[in-house]
Amino acid sequence: MTEIADTISEMPEDWPPGTLAVRSKENVWFVAEVLPLEGLLLKFLRRGWRNENDIKDLCQDVYMEVYEVAKAEIPASAKAFVFAIARNVLVDRIRREQIVSIEAVADFETLGLATEEPGPDRTAIARQELRRLQAALDRMPKRWREAVVMRKIQEMSRPEIAVRLGIAEATVSQHLAAGMGALANLFHDDLTELKKKP
């Protein structure tokens, strides 16, 4: 019995598939409070920075700074905090690139997004969510959508999907992964353009 007890105490090391790291307090907060702001955040960044190619990276910069702070202490107001960081990231970027865009600075001075405004209530969001998911699915390239629908809605396994579509399992994996990414982008952001087509 001792042997078994030892095995159990060692388990968290390689016990698959573990999600303990993924469920820390900052992660839970990030998913619940910060990610829902992404649509608004992208709008804010686009108004302050005209080069669309940089928007995703700027968004990532904001997320990383927000996340670092949250690891030490969860900010009281996610929204006020995220937009304060977003403003700093934009100001830094504009200063570094030495292309001081007066328009950009003026723009987000007047944007007023960083203030705490009452959003739509939670149930309204929940109702929208299904519509947004459907819209995201509709706008995805066909190959990815097929894979996502079979996996998520028809709950088929990877080998089953491969047989149904008549393609290799590895290709199914690629389509699914691409579909997952596209779903996240399209869900948060109506303006996302899908560059890579399968």
């Binding site: 078994i4 016990w15 990532q60 670092e68 690139e97 299904l130 779903l183 869900f187």
Partner: protein
């Protein structure tokens, strides 16, 4: 300028990070996830917080997309509702003719229209009520919605459901379960009924749980977030478990089962709630062994492989069932 260069070197390109995050999520979704995969994944996460963030982001939307599953069975539900309505309408009509012909239409209109929603073993279903409240049905569950009276009454006939209630003080949201009822006071809560045992867990807001104790007396408890009431044999007890335990109670909403020093017997019973392929624990000695971890709820085979490996027991796959023994 050096700052800018540094910054760009440290932060990886968002697009490539997202692509890796999606690839990881896809790999994790499938049953063949090994300890080595987990180590690789942990390493990848550790490289940069950007990786954790990107992973959380893709996984969050992917989990939300479970709602799409509700689109899979709308016809079936609608058909069931229709059959019920016609049946009730007939009773109502006959009664009306016999009792008072003139009032036939009135009685018909007043007939409570019950709707029953069910899930099979392994299925899950999301319901969105007209008032914006949401109910998520877990595996092997039956739920009746009556919309006749002045309040919304829902009966959990069997199984488990998670309620996210749009509170309306004028029309209280009531969930009847066994000999008790749960009245929402603006809240999210979980109700589970299993072999003479009722469990109510509150995650947000407050809910009142009334239990008819020994027939006449009613015991009542107002539950706040983090509290769990368990009723068995007409008695109620309220506890406040560790937050993580409560979070794990909702793991099924992500298609996961989370065990923490759980006996093999309990873990097997939990898997059996969700799968047609049953786990049978052969003798009482191994039934007491404890295990922990997070598993895909349908990955019976992967789970049995893990316990075989870790507990040094036998797992005999006989097709319809897997027998665990010494």
């Amino acid at each position: 300028m050096s700052d800018a260069i540094k910054q760009r070197q440290i932060n990886p390109k968002a697009e490539s990070v997202q692509s890796s995050a999606s690839t990881w999520l896809e790999r994790r979704e499938h049953g063949d996830w090994s300890g080595r995969d987990q180590q690789e994944f942990d390493l990848w996460l550790a490289v940069s917080p950007a990786h954790t963030i990107a992973y959380l982001r893709v996984e969050d939307v992917w989990n939300r997309a479970n709602r799409l599953r509700a689109l899979n069975h709308p016809e079936r539900n609608r058909a069931a509702i229709f059959r019920r309505w016609t049946f009730l309408a007939r009773i109502a009509a006959v009664a009306a003719v016999v009792v008072l012909v003139g009032a036939a239409s009135v009685i018909y209109l007043l007939t409570p229209r019950d709707t029953i929603y069910t899930t099979e073993v392994g299925q899950r279903e999301n319901l969105l009520l007209a008032d914006g409240s949401q109910i998520e049905l877990n595996t092997d569950t039956a739920l009746r919605i009556s919309a006749g009276g002045g309040n919304k009454t829902i009966t959990l006939e069997k199984g488990e459901a998670y309620f996210d209630v749009k509170h309306d003080a004028k029309r209280p949201f009531v969930v009847r379960v066994g000999g008790g009822r749960v009245i929402d006071l603006g809240t999210r809560f979980l109700v589970r009924q299993s072999s003479n045992r009722i469990k109510v867990a509150v995650f947000e807001g407050r809910a009142r749980f009334d239990l008819a104790e020994s027939g006449i007396r009613t015991r009542s408890a107002v539950l706040v977030p983090g509290e769990v009431a368990v009723a068995a044999a007409g008695r109620m007890s309220v506890t406040k478990p560790a937050p993580q335990v409560l979070v794990d109670d909702l793991a099924w909403r992500r298609s996961e089962l989370v065990f923490h020093f759980t006996s093999l017997a309990d873990a097997a019973a939990e898997f059996n709630r969700y799968n047609q392929k049953k786990l049978i624990v052969q003798d009482s000695e191994i039934a007491r062994l404890e295990i922990g971890g997070t598993f895909g709820m349908h990955d019976v085979t992967g789970f049995s492989r893990q316990v075989r490996h870790l507990l040094g027991i036998r797992a005999d796959d006989r097709g319809a069932e897997i027998v665990l023994s010494r």
